[in-house]
């Protein structure tokens, strides 16, 4: 498979009153055509900034970027705004977390859905409407003709997220970013939407980046997983390999803190003590050192580099799990 999106040494900083805030600190990632990647991390780990930066959506003057973003053979980091804009919809598309606020409340579903088709694909009004109905059928919205005339507030959260998916898919993107697409939804609806995304990805042979804080969500729906912590990728592996053979203590802690239905409850839950380090005050050592149960002296002073095992499993730890200590 060929490389579709490739980030190298991507660094995103924001100017804040407290100084420079490094939200993404040197990320290298590659997404192949047709592949699905899960990006997992806590709030503030930089996962959303990473996906927005990849699409070129960080346009505020306080955001600064270094490193390169190459999409489909084209270096977007050196390209003009118009070139980046031209990849939206047809190249890359995004589904946002909150389907309640991501849709325009005063425009009908039909007009929001056909906008991309009319602008990007230059379709006639009639063709765009026809395609919009197909799209609503694709995301399994019952009675699409009626749905086109509705306003977002007339639809439930799950239905709105389906509309968001339809809008994102309208111009057949090669890569779909789904930023916490099910976090605002009920668990039964979450299961429906995740299944829908998986099915559509295969049907349309599309790549997908699924950004979430929930390892349970990515376990069943991705080929590979990148775990982020404090703006860095701290572990990266194929999904099965990652769960079978966790190397990074942070990933282990994250897994243990998930309440599990398939295990007997013991009353108390495992927690990760403390919280993410202050992103304006980078620490010299490992960013997870202050919360890590296995911390040693070296971790506090020396920043670990990303190591690569033979099977492609990468981890950023001086003393990885599963190795002799």
């Amino acid at each position: 498979m060929s490389s579709l999106l490739s980030l190298s040494n991507l660094r995103i900083t924001f100017d804040t009153p407290r100084g420079e805030l490094a939200a993404v600190r040197g990320v290298d990632l590659e997404i192949l055509a047709g592949e699905s990647l899960g990006v997992v991390g806590e709030s503030g780990s930089g996962k959303t900034v990473l996906s927005r930066a990849s699409m070129g959506l960080l346009t505020m003057s306080s955001a600064h970027r270094s490193g390169t973003v190459v999409f489909d053979g084209q270096d977007l980091s050196a390209a003009s705004r118009d070139t980046v804009r031209n990849t939206w919809g047809t190249g890359m598309a995004m589904i946002f977390q909150d389907p309640m606020t991501a849709l325009n409340p005063v425009r009908r579903i039909g007009s929001q859905l056909t906008e991309g088709l009319r602008v990007r694909l230059d379709m006639s009004k009639k063709d765009a409407k026809k395609r919009a109905i197909e799209l609503l059928q694709l995301v399994r919205i019952p009675d699409p003709e009626t749905a086109l005339r509705k306003f977002p507030n007339q639809l439930s959260g799950g239905m709105r997220q389906r509309v968001m998916i339809a809008i994102a898919l309208a111009c057949n993107p090669k890569l779909l970013f789904a930023d916490e697409p099910t976090t605002a939804l009920d668990v039964t609806v979450q299961a429906q939407i995740l299944q829908l995304l998986s099915d559509l990805r295969k049907e349309l042979n599309m790549s997908m980046v699924l950004v979430t804080h929930d390892l349970g969500v990515v376990a069943g729906h991705t080929d590979k997983i990148a775990v982020m912590y404090a703006g860095e990728v701290v572990e990266y592996a194929e999904t099965k390999e990652l769960f079978a053979n966790v190397r990074m203590p942070y990933t282990e802690a994250l897994l243990n803190s998930i309440p599990r239905l398939d295990q007997k409850s013991s009353g108390r839950m495992a927690v990760i003590e403390g919280r993410l380090p202050d992103p304006t005050q980078p620490e010299p050592g490992c960013a997870f050192a202050s919360r890590c149960p296995y911390v040693q002296e070296k971790c506090r002073t020396e920043h670990p580099e990303l190591q690569k095992a033979n099977n492609g499993h990468q981890f950023r730890c001086h003393f990885p799990l599963g190795a002799s200590r």
Partner: protein, 329 residues
Amino acid sequence: MAGTGKAHLRNTEDTVLSVEDLVVEFSLSKKTAVQAVSGISFDLVQGETLSIVGESGCGKSTLGKAILSLLPATSGSVIFGGRDMTKLDKEAVRNLRPQMQMIFQDPISSLDPRYTVKQLVAEPLEIWSRGNAEEQASKVEELLDSVGIDPAIAGDRKAYEFSGGQCQRISIARSLALEPKLLICDEPVSALDVSIQAQILNLLQDMKERYGLTMVFISHDLSVVKAVSTRILVMYLGKICEIATPDSLYDSPKHHYTHALVGSVPIPDPTKKVAQVILEGEPPSPVDPPSGCRFRTRCPAATELCAAEEPQLRDVGGGNYVACHHPRS
């Protein structure tokens, strides 16, 4: 789904809260009304945690508010401390309130941004004139300390300076200030990250033991309530589907809706391809609920009987009570 019936009521001596046939109606127009809570009965024994689980719109938050008389009950009774709250006047209900407190879903918007952390926690003590200023100050410090917030560092800062998890800790301290008997938690962790969720769930368990609380825990997430519950009540469209102990509920859900809920929870293990039960469609409108069992329109086992007759809650053994004509074996 479900029905009414009271097979699961225990009526023991140390019952803290007993709810019978509670109905909460909202009128939509002069002619139509929607029953958000439609004939719910349950009881809660001292020291227990009852979890109420269901999808958005099933009436679980309305039920929580109706228990506290924050919403008026249309009919039925809520007996707390031997008195029927629905029959009391405003002043009497107000006087009972210190004994029953609530924690809300969004920890940031439920705290006044103009107050400092100390003021937030002291407010209930001031309103109810508990002790003099000195006693109140030391009570506030003790409470903040017990929820893991350092009063010396955080006490004079304002709530918006804190993360969601920290704000939820402050909310918990505030709700415990008057030493309530009953604590109702409405989705207390659904706005939080997984790693923080676990911290708050553990804290609630600690507080429950320390202050001898009885809790109602409202959530849409079955995996969250598993660790904290004594009993779990599953709701659908304003009615009870099933009520059971956590282990029997997860090991052998008797109601088809519970089964689907359990099957929808993502499992963080790619080798376990659980037979995911994906429910088709969405709950029907509560304005015009289906006849008979309200779940029948999405139920894989529905028959004509389900449309004709509403199932009653009955004991199916193993600590499960289920309202279904064709329970799973």
